[in-house]
């Protein structure tokens, strides 16, 4: 159970304690959310570090390709007009109402997309790598500065966990938006490049 002031939340089954092979066990996350389902730190570390390498290499290729092809500058960098408070507020309201852009505007990322993609690509993902490396005693010996940046190994671990949670939240919101903004059109455009644009006053 989680106590926040006078509030109490029942967390059994999700955090702190959940079923493991039929019996309630003390564990951080429930069995269906972890690899493996049972507690095996050594195996968990092998999965973690294998995919950490894949993630770091893939991320490096993505960043270099995005810079060289000017993809970031062309598609992700918000313009000053987009960053004006009035425009931002307007985007937040239309987003919340699930009103998606039509016509020419549908071809480009809107400013909320740009900001969240940039936040993920340039803040969260690099932080994942750097805070992860800060937890390595070997890397800390080579780069003491990592400890100065993140305030030591325990706080690097907290930041690592917070960033991971934010990434999960991003993925959830991202997938929901893909679904509600026209899933077949979105999926087709990802694979074939053909994207149907709705024009005000009727279909194109």
């Amino acid at each position: 159970m989680l106590h926040l002031g006078s509030l109490t939340f029942e967390t059994t089954g999700l955090l702190g304690a959940s079923k493991e092979g039929g019996a309630l066990a003390a564990r951080g996350f429930p069995a269906w959310l972890t690899i493996p389902s049972y507690q095996d730190l050594a195996a968990g570390r092998r999965w973690h570090f294998f995919f950490a390498w894949l993630f770091a290499i893939n991320g490096a290729v993505y960043l270099v390709a995005g810079l060289v092809s000017r993809h970031f500058r062309r598609d992700l960098l918000p313009t000053t007009t987009e960053l004006a408070p009035g425009h931002l507020a307007h985007e937040v309201v239309t987003h919340a109402k699930l009103q998606f852009p039509k016509g020419e505007a549908a071809r480009r990322y809107n400013v909320l997309q740009k900001l969240s993609y940039m936040g993920v690509a340039f803040v969260l993902l690099p932080l994942m790598v750097l805070t992860g490396l800060t937890m390595s005693p070997g890397m800390d010996s080579a780069f003491h500065v990592l400890l100065d940046i993140f305030g030591g190994r325990p706080s690097a671990r907290s930041i690592h966990f917070i960033c991971a949670s934010l990434l999960v939240a991003f993925v959830v919101v991202h997938i929901v938006m893909v679904l509600v903004s026209g899933v077949w059109n979105n999926l087709r455009s990802m694979i074939t490049g053909k994207y149907a644009i709705e024009v005000d006053g009727g279909a194109q």
Binding site: R46, S136, G138, P154
Partner: protein, 269 residues
Amino acid sequence: MNPNVKFKADRMTPFQARRKWLTAFAAGAGSLALAGCDRAVENPRIDATLRSAEKLTLASQRLILQHQPLAKEYGERDLSPVFRANGSMMPQSKEYARLLQGKFVDWRLQVDGLVQRPQALSLAQLKAMKARTQITRHDCVEGWSAIGKWQGVPLSQVLDLAGLKPGARYVIFHCADDLGETGDDAGLYYESIDLLDAYHPQTILAYGMNGQDLPVAHGAPLRLRIERQLGYKQAKYVNRIEVADAYSHLNGGKGGFWEDRGYEWYAGI
């Protein structure tokens, strides 16, 4: 799918039946995915693929650490108020109890294997050698850290005293604690490191902690401090150092108590 789920569609509206089917399907798919993940974890070929990343980690860290940088050393004010003890807290053997009662006067550190001059060093002899004191961070594989002050003799001095023979590649630490609780030698704690780490200036055989004799819970009378690697490499209750050309002949063959139980031999990450 759970075979016990029976559909009594005649007693339910089609909507109820569909909802029940969807629930059962979701539960079935969930447990199938869960079982699938566990099967993947236990699949030897997948495990071997995952283990290949360890070689990449070792090679990269060796490249980055080739100039033998020192692990960060802290000040007295950074010492952890409570330094958690993990693993064995008190070796169970009668021999250890006898040595502890005698304040380790009769205790000896054996140094043998591929050495020119095998040694049996007393605690007094070790304390008479040139000491190094370092305040460093201990990083447990479980995620927690603690900062402690360690005093001891650099391993390089002990190895030089014994003199390495050609072919020496690894230093193996044999310990007094039966962490595996097998009651025979198979459960005894042990660890191994290579000569690169053995000759690192911060690799010491510590007999003092936080300005006092090493407490029993932390490995009295002698433990390894190999900064730049995780806690399970810091073997406690060390009573024999074996220099060898390999570690595959020992117990599980993976070079250490926890290594035999799935953890990486190189614990720099």
